[in-house]
């Protein structure tokens, strides 16, 4: 969604074509991300001939400031919804950067890993907006991701298992 999409496209900007095909997953309520993604991929196709990507929408797990109890329900729904999608895609690598949308997908991927179906590497990059505190997605995925990247040194100090590469967007 919004700023997250812009950030994640910047993260992708220097990746080699080995990272293919790319499967974008975003919230059904998100109106602008599709256009940004298509524009990014179109530009990419000018350099790399075999660019492949797909787009999928899932229900948003939680609106900003949604109550705790209703969030649990909507999140569970998002997880169930994401399971067939994640199973079909069987990703090798999941890259996410913080919108609530990413948590259900990661949970499904963890589940597929536990069941021995497919083990994905989960790389989480916390948004550059997060200088001193983690987002809710970040707080959850700090424990469940394989690599947790932060963009400010304050966060690296608070979360020692994180990776600090400087500012990357």
């Amino acid at each position: 969604a919004g700023g997250h999409t812009t950030e994640i496209l910047r993260l992708l900007s220097c990746l080699s074509e080995s990272y293919s095909p790319r499967h974008y997953i975003f919230a059904d309520s998100d109106k602008m991300s599709e256009a940004k993604i298509r524009s990014f991929e179109q530009k990419r196709a000018e350099t790399f001939s075999n660019s492949q990507f797909t787009l999928d929408r899932i229900p948003r797990s939680r609106e900003v400031r949604q109550s705790w109890t209703s969030s649990v329900v909507t999140s569970l729904y998002s997880i169930l919804y994401s399971l067939p999608l994640t199973y079909r895609l069987k990703p090798d690598l999941i890259l996410c950067n913080g919108p609530g949308t990413c948590v259900p997908v990661c949970i499904c991927a963890l589940l597929l890993g536990l069941l021995g179906i497919k083990r994905a590497i989960i790389v989480y990059v916390e948004s550059i907006c997060r200088v001193e505190t983690l987002s809710l997605s970040g707080k959850i995925l700090y424990y469940f991701s394989d690599y947790f990247i932060v963009q400010w040194p304050d966060l690296k100090e608070k979360y020692p298992k994180s990776v600090y590469l400087g500012r990357i967007v």
Partner: protein
């Protein structure tokens, strides 16, 4: 105007940008090397928007004020004291990820 697809053209022509503390607005402006005055409305903002604005201000990259101090800030500002905020480096991320995944 209310919404534009891109402010890139307006940014290019601006000498000073006055903005709310939204991360996108701030970072886009700073990348283009334009002086930026961030107006903070603590009542309206999410706490985490404030984090970035505070950090940018502490680093001397932006002017900071609230709605009531805006005029006085603009009158007394010295833009030459602002430090540049270089853009991030996604190449570092690509290098890191290549190692993680095993493409080397």
């Amino acid at each position: 105007f209310r919404f534009k697809d891109s402010l890139a053209e307006d940014l290019r022509r601006a000498d000073l940008v006055i903005s709310h503390a939204g991360a996108g607005s701030c970072l886009e402006t700073l990348e283009k090397g334009k002086p930026l005055a961030v107006v903070i409305n603590e009542k309206l903002m999410n706490n985490h928007q404030l984090e970035l604005a505070k950090r940018l201000h502490r680093g001397g990259h932006v002017l900071c004020c609230n709605c009531s101090t805006l005029v006085e800030t603009l009158q007394s500002m010295d833009l030459s004291t602002l430090k540049p905020f270089p853009p991030g480096q996604p190449e570092k991320f690509a290098l890191f990820l290549d190692k993680v995944v095993g493409f080397q």
